[in-house]
């Protein structure tokens, strides 16, 4: 069974006289056949985590268990893991067939005929059967990518590791391969750990997302949970494009006191907040309604500073009437709604859509209401 567990995994690199903690006490449990996307900004330790699972980096402390067995000290060649690299890392002097057969020749006792059958099968799955006699240098980027994937699936490993495999492709091919990879993964049902910095890939591909920042695991949850119920301010800001708006506020009784606006809270939200006074108010751009006829405690007068038409929707940069110029937040409105720079519009920030984070720790104290 291809379960993969990371238990308190830590990686410390020596750096001159000091040390750099690249991965800090990460716990992840993956069930068999799960597609987990590890996402985070560059330098967050996601690739290091993947390389520790592969055995290409040693683990400073903690345990990595593959199918229940601790593999910390198992050499990469004995871990039954296949990895797809960002650069594809194909062997340039071998044909596609040679590239795909290499792993089977080195790690199994299969006969030549069996290897050939498996290579042909995998090549057909990847749609590269007619390329088997070619050298990697004769292939396009997309074809090389398929060979790299084919080389991984032909080995039929316990776990696939993928290190930003799509980042060298152009945008159109990337979205094609994204769909194809998902299809392939659900077909093969192999546990897959997929590293990317691209949050679109994270949202669309994974069964679950693990978000890392500065070596620390922020949240492991389904894409929608990460989006609607972020564990902290970092996750809230990282997932979603355009990203969530944040306002630093102080709680004053049952009201949030921002620099240029006051936001009264209902009793149930106040329960969540408890006795925290320094807070960050978060609201997603699409939850801000720019209907124009809003009224009430949660309606505010704003000025439109910039409009970015995207076709299906407009990204609007708004400024509270009393706020200094340039201090904007973002709302998205329908593509057909007429709105232009300089307009004064009344917006509403509905209370059921707001997130509140502890201003000091960044932990979420209140997430938006979900309509179930």
């Amino acid at each position: 069974m291809g379960t993969l567990e990371l238990d308190g995994v830590t990686k410390v690199f020596p750096d001159g006289d000091g040390e750099v903690v690249a991965v800090d006490d990460v716990d992840i449990e993956m069930r068999d056949g799960e597609f987990l996307v590890v996402v985070g900004p560059s330098g967050c330790g996601k690739s290091t985590t993947l390389r520790m699972v592969a055995g290409l980096e040693t683990v400073t402390s903690g345990e990595i268990r593959l199918a229940g067995n601790v593999v910390n000290d198992v050499k990469p060649q004995h871990r039954d893991i296949a990895m797809v690299f960002q650069s594809y890392a194909l062997y340039p002097h071998m044909t596609v067939e040679g590239n795909m057969a290499f792993g089977l020749e080195e790690s199994t006792e299969l006969s030549d005929e069996e290897i050939e059958t498996r290579v042909t099968d995998a090549a057909e799955t990847m749609g590269i059967a007619e390329l088997l006699d070619r050298k990697p240098s004769d292939l396009s980027g997309g074809q090389q990518q398929r060979v790299a994937l084919g080389r991984a699936i032909v080995r039929d490993p316990e776990v696939f590791l993928m290190d930003e495999p799509l980042s060298n492709l152009d945008a159109k091919l990337r979205s094609e391969m994204r769909t194809e990879l998902q299809r392939l993964q659900s077909e093969l049902d192999v546990t897959t750990m997929y590293v990317t910095h691209d949050q679109t890939e994270a949202m669309t591909m994974g069964d679950r997302i693990a978000i890392l920042n500065a070596g620390e695991l922020q949240q492991v949850a389904t894409p929608l949970e990460c989006y609607h119920e972020p564990a902290n301010r970092f996750v809230a800001g990282f997932i979603g494009d355009p990203s969530m708006n944040f306002f630093d506020v102080k709680r004053d009784g049952d009201t949030l006191d921002g620099a240029v606006f006051d936001y009264p809270l209902s009793a149930s939200t106040l329960d969540d907040v408890g006795d925290v006074t320094d807070l960050t108010l978060g609201v997603r751009p699409e939850d801000i309604s720019v209907a124009g006829d809003a009224a009430g405690d949660h309606a505010f007068s704003t000025v439109v500073e910039v409009v970015e038409p995207m076709g299906d929707e407009n990204t609007v940069y708004l400024r509270f009437e009393d706020a200094p110029e340039g201090e904007t937040f973002i709302a998205t409105v329908g593509g057909l709604q007429r709105i232009s720079v300089g307009d004064e519009v009344t917006i509403e920030i509905p209370e059921e859509a707001i997130h509140l984070f502890d201003g000091n720790t960044g932990e979420a104290v209140h997430n938006r209401d979900m309509e179930e």
Binding site: L56, Q77, M83, F85, A89, L90, Y91, R151
Partner: protein, 314 residues
């Protein structure tokens, strides 16, 4: 005469560029000067070789009776010097090949092994660095400084005695010198080979090696199936460089084989005394001998030329 021939060649190439550019306006004063300058340099560098070549085909009276770079005329032309040079150097060619080829191949292979170890293996950096430092230091040891210790070493390690079973087969025991030359050249060629291969392996994709490790290959298998097949261009560079060095080296042969009368005398030793006698120098014979001695290095360069260019470019 020879100047005329060169001018012809020069004009031909000038018209070529004009024609391919499709505009006579392309031939301006600067270009004319540039080509004249290049032609001058070409002549300067080729005259010695041309002189040597034409001299080797002249009779002794032809050599003394004409300018060095003038070609032989009907009465002064002869192939006899090449014939006698070949007769004199024939055994030297074989003796030289007997140590130059093994020493080149072994030093290139060992250099490749060592470089693989200090680049792509997962040994700790702190162990690799001192090893590399030793190799680099080895490059800068001048041969002259090691001549005395070297001859002392080979007098202690007496191959003449140790290889008695070989001489019993009827092989002249002078050939101990050839074995000594192989070992010596491998030892002194290894540092430069290692450093050349190291720079090549440093640039090799690390992800590719990691992919091979994950594919289940051991460190030896990765070398044999991935690194070695991709080392072709650097092997060409090292083989050409090492072969030329070893083939042309006179110093070690003087110390280890010593005399041209030895049965194992390499070509450089015989060449040193060729055509020299009390009556004076036989220039034609010496030139013919020099060309014969240079032919193998030329052949190696032509054989690996394409890979050489690729290896130097990386």
């Amino acid at each position: 005469m020879s100047n005329d021939a060169r001018t012809d060649g020069g004009t031909a190439s000038a018209t070529d560029t004009g024609a391919s550019a499709g505009a006579l306006a392309g031939i301006d004063g600067y270009r004319v000067l540039l080509y004249l300058g290049l032609l001058g340099m070409l002549t300067f560098f080729l005259i010695p070789i041309e002189s040597g070549l034409v001299t080797s085909f002249k009779t002794s009276s032809g050599v003394s009776g004409s300018l060095p770079f003038a070609p032989p005329t009907g009465s002064t032309f002869t192939l006899e010097k090449w014939q006698s040079a070949f007769d004199a150097l024939g055994r030297g060619l074989i003796n030289s090949a007997l140590y130059a080829i093994p020493a080149t191949v072994i030093s290139a292979l060992l250099g490749s092994f060592a470089a693989y170890g200090i680049t792509q293996s997962d040994w700790k950096q702190k162990y690799k660095a001192p090893v590399l430092a030793l190799f680099v230091a080895g490059i800068f040891i001048p041969y002259q400084a090691v001549l005395v210790p070297l001859s002392q070493f080979w007098s202690m390690v007496s191959l003449q005695d140790w290889l008695g079973f070989v001489w019993a087969l009827g092989i002249n025991d002078d050939y101990a010198g050839v074995v000594e030359l192989i070992v010596t050249h491998v030892a002194y060629g290894l540092p430069i080979c290692t450093v050349l291969f190291r720079s090549y392996y440093k640039n090799m994709s690390e992800e590719m090696i990691e992919a091979a490790r994950l594919d289940g290959a051991s460190i030896r298998r990765i070398y044999r199936r991935i690194v070695l097949p991709l080392s072709g261009p650097m092997f060409a560079v090292v083989l050409i460089y090492q072969f030329t060095q070893i083939w042309n080296d006179l110093l070690f042969t003087l110390v280890l084989v010593q005399t041209e009368s030895s049965a194992a005398a390499p070509i450089v030793l015989i060449l040193a005394g060729l055509g020299t006698s009390l009556e004076g120098q036989d220039f034609a014979l010496r030139m013919a001998g020099a060309f014969i001695a240079a032919l193998p290095t030329l052949a190696v360069y032509i054989a690996f030329g394409e890979e050489f260019a690729e290896g130097v470019a990386t």
